[in-house]
Subunit: 263 residues, 2 copies
Amino acid sequence: MTSESTRPLILVTNDDGITAPGIRNLVESIVDLGDVVVVAPDSHQSGMGHAITISNILRMSPHDFGMPGVQAYKTTGTPVDCVKLAIYKILDRKPDVLVSGINHGSNASINVIYSGTMSAAVEGALEGIPSVGFSLCDFAEDADFSASRNVARTVTQKVLKHGTPTGTCLNVNIPKVAPEKLQGIKVCRQGAGHWADSFEEREAPGGRTYYWMTGNFTDVDKGEDTDEWALKHGYVSVVPVQYDMTAHHAMTELNQWDLNGER
Amino acid sequence: MTSESTRPLILVTNDDGITAPGIRNLVESIVDLGDVVVVAPDSHQSGMGHAITISNILRMSPHDFGMPGVQAYKTTGTPVDCVKLAIYKILDRKPDVLVSGINHGSNASINVIYSGTMSAAVEGALEGIPSVGFSLCDFAEDADFSASRNVARTVTQKVLKHGTPTGTCLNVNIPKVAPEKLQGIKVCRQGAGHWADSFEEREAPGGRTYYWMTGNFTDVDKGEDTDEWALKHGYVSVVPVQYDMTAHHAMTELNQWDLNGER
């Protein structure tokens, strides 16, 4: 993509696929803030985490997003593949901001780690691009994105102005409430939680067994400074997410193990 | 799986697939330390990150690992799926340790984030299981695992004794050197780095374009306390990895943005 524009370059992606209502709402909410390029999966890629396609081929083609001035490409890849394709194949300058979403469903607490939406934002951040993932706590295809649109616009404007703190991207989750019921925006930490999974066993025509994964999210964190707390109390949660996964506080403990000495 | 055993229960997985030499070497190095159950992908799942299978079905079946006393299952899922299947479907008690690998290729620095091997260990950790991922810095199918075997045994024994620091798993990388050339084991932080990718364009029979992702790892970290430094100097690197991705230090900066006030 060749461009002489001096307007901010905004890269948009998601994990629900390029035809999802969430990405359309995201683009509509920020389209006047700069030059918008969409590079998104051609199909649903939820739960893909930070997966990349290294054992198979990728395809990519222009896509008519149906919005004047918006360039769009769909790819067969994961959300992280989309970010890499955008940076290293499609764009001729570095985006000023990357926005991912708006995801259909929460990416708060431990969900950040499974989320293709957030992994795309993490990938942008480690490429040095101020990056944000937006998620609405509503899985419905016809979810009401009006509050999310306001939030996406506000946060994108802030990020265009301030950048993001070094080594981070932002995980923004919006509760399922009407715009006038929103309590505000809260900076939070990632709440502790995990999924208690179960595997529903079924029989295919022919008799072979297969499984569907289902699960219940278990919130084990009683803190009032978490994203889960904020969302339950009507606030938008903003968590700064880092890709340095080192547990620096644990290094001292490990050094006491005498790893090079007696077993 | 029903067991009356009081020996430690050792869950083994990987991302190179259940028939990879790396997982065989791992099992051989620790098989006498407890009851070993292998649950691993039936095919290559490198670069799958923390992907889970929620939009498709899973299959799972017993697998003859060819080693007395070792129970094994292969699945169509990702490494993280394997851990979930093991915990919530196959095992009737919580593993005392989860070991993942031995991966064919480095998972040091930012590779931790793309790695199925390490994502399996992270998933184990967030289920409360002391978990370790092992990777040998050698992609070759016929790589020499003898140094890695010693390391895997030592670290697994230490983890059975001490557990892991709260909220962490261990990312253990082994340099490509002969056992007698190993300089020792070093506790490190994750080095800063990223992949400069390129997309090789090819034409399929019929004329349609497709792409292969390739990349060069770019080490931008000059520190001598990183995993990359340790590996380059002949040491085994051990990085404690946490799944709380909150950049706690960045919360103050974000709170100064006045997210609820003027745009």
